[in-house]
Symmetry: C2
Subunit: 371 residues, 2 copies
Amino acid sequence: MPLSFEITARCPETGARAGKLHTSHGTISTPIFMPVGTQATVKAMTSEELKTLGAEIILGNTYHLYLRPGADLVAEAGGLHSFMNWDRGILTDSGGFQVFSLDSLRKISEEGVTFRSHIDGSKHFISPEKATEIQMKLGADIIMAFDECIPYPCEYEYARESTLRTTRWAQRCLLTHRNKKQALFGIVQGGTYRDLRELSVQGLVPLDFPGYGIGGLSVGEPKSLMYEVLDYTLPLLPEGKPRYLMGVGTPDCLLEGVARGIDMFDCVFPTRVARNGTILTRRGRLVIRNARYARDFRPLDPECTCYTCRNYSRAYIHHLIRTREILGLRLTTIHNLALTLDLMGAIREHIAAGTFAMFKADYLGNNQEYN
Amino acid sequence: MPLSFEITARCPETGARAGKLHTSHGTISTPIFMPVGTQATVKAMTSEELKTLGAEIILGNTYHLYLRPGADLVAEAGGLHSFMNWDRGILTDSGGFQVFSLDSLRKISEEGVTFRSHIDGSKHFISPEKATEIQMKLGADIIMAFDECIPYPCEYEYARESTLRTTRWAQRCLLTHRNKKQALFGIVQGGTYRDLRELSVQGLVPLDFPGYGIGGLSVGEPKSLMYEVLDYTLPLLPEGKPRYLMGVGTPDCLLEGVARGIDMFDCVFPTRVARNGTILTRRGRLVIRNARYARDFRPLDPECTCYTCRNYSRAYIHHLIRTREILGLRLTTIHNLALTLDLMGAIREHIAAGTFAMFKADYLGNNQEYN
């Protein structure tokens, strides 16, 4: 088995669970947030810094790596771990999300998808088989079945057709996959239609994937609708297997996802907004380029113990972001990732201590923007 | 005394000397290279990383800091050291070089210089008094007299007029300066005219500055001419005071400067070319974005022990630079600074061991581009 999962604690009041996910590159404590390293690098960070922050697994984007530097080159380097100097866990997505979100003119058929590169417009074709082959070359610990991520809103008829095709594609991925060190996860689709989510789960569960992604959420629907979909979908999935909510990563959504039984998350949110100068704090967000921070010599978040908050002031980071200095992007990225990973650590501790429900209410209560 | 300097070793075959420069922020071993932190940050680096590389003193640009975030704000933060979280040495230039190089329409008078900001075109006036006041607020350990850096080539008559004015300005800086923790250095000008360099030294030495900058070099003249100016200028300066060759920082110029008796250097060269993907190695330069490095899994410089070379390959850095990833700029900056600072460390050791002349010949011989 390339992967084993054990649940070590459960919240008595919510669906939250804590566990251990054993991979070829170490054990991951769940619920976990995976920082996104799109192009074989979590933007602005070294692997050493990611370890210092406590990251146990990161995500790589198959679409981007397929285009640059190419899967064969990564394989030649000894796989993605070796290429990017990261010896902990890696999960690669299937490329499906990018193909559907970056090229509005892509052509989809039963066989696969034809799309154009966002870099040079060149034409490419990816099938479930090809997506799996690429991911085998990249060598991540967890790889994802090739799926179609349908938009929100989406006509029922199209959603149904797409969901059934994604299930057939998942089967083809499974038949292609033959790397014993990698775990291949299926992806539940179905949009915001309850019967389609059920249909998706019914198609995937018999294939006995070692874990399941929940796709097609956080694509523009209201948060309440996302929570509703999780509420009726998660109970359908096998208890003992990890569930990964794809593309979700704001503090409130992490807490709500965990409360419904999600074990894994990834999102560009903390790192992307950091580079734009938006700072997450335990009391809400702040936009560091605002003039009010020019002479504010406090740390970004006085309750934070990250490298940035221990050493640098809001005034200094305000200056760096305004002058477009690289160090500004680094310091804000470190802080936002630290806050997110610290939140996950606190979540795990509170699940183990049986106090998660209270912790969640407190955390959301302290964050005015979530009220 | 804010500064004391002792010479601890001399090369028997060249003018090279090794020494110790004691400042309010620690002792600096000379000859030293100062990484440039224009806007209160050495681009792409944290202060922690600079320490790991062995940087003992860095340079800040008064012109840039005056415009953003402003000297009063830096003073409010407790000075530049505290603002940027750097507890080792800092030298600030006077702003003169930027005023003359960034605004071709500046107006110069005996009183000072009127110029426009490169950021928003706003009009500003800097005099020797104002440049000194600003630098007192910034609080560096070593500050520089306000000077005019004349271009190359330059008419004799203008060069003479400017050189004499720079000397009068140096006097006014000295009269303004009243920070006992800072050392104020004079700057020798005179272009490439031997009699004007003599005139400059004759005017400045009686003012008894604790150290002297050699300005107006590395501004477009051939290297051989720069060496010639150093050959006739340095013997005129007092033996026991530090000499700082401003704006110089390629390996060959560092070695040639040291051989002529220079103790301090600064230059954007290693960091600026790094961000452009040009890598300095002990065997010459390489342009990492070239296709030949796409599958080269060796370190940037196999003889280097820096963080970049210990952990990442040319192929990976080629990928990062091609995809414009921030980590690429970081890794190349770390390496180029490590190479430059390591070179200075080797220079100091060889001066102490009496083997500097041989080391210099070997180093230049191994670097084909310097042959």
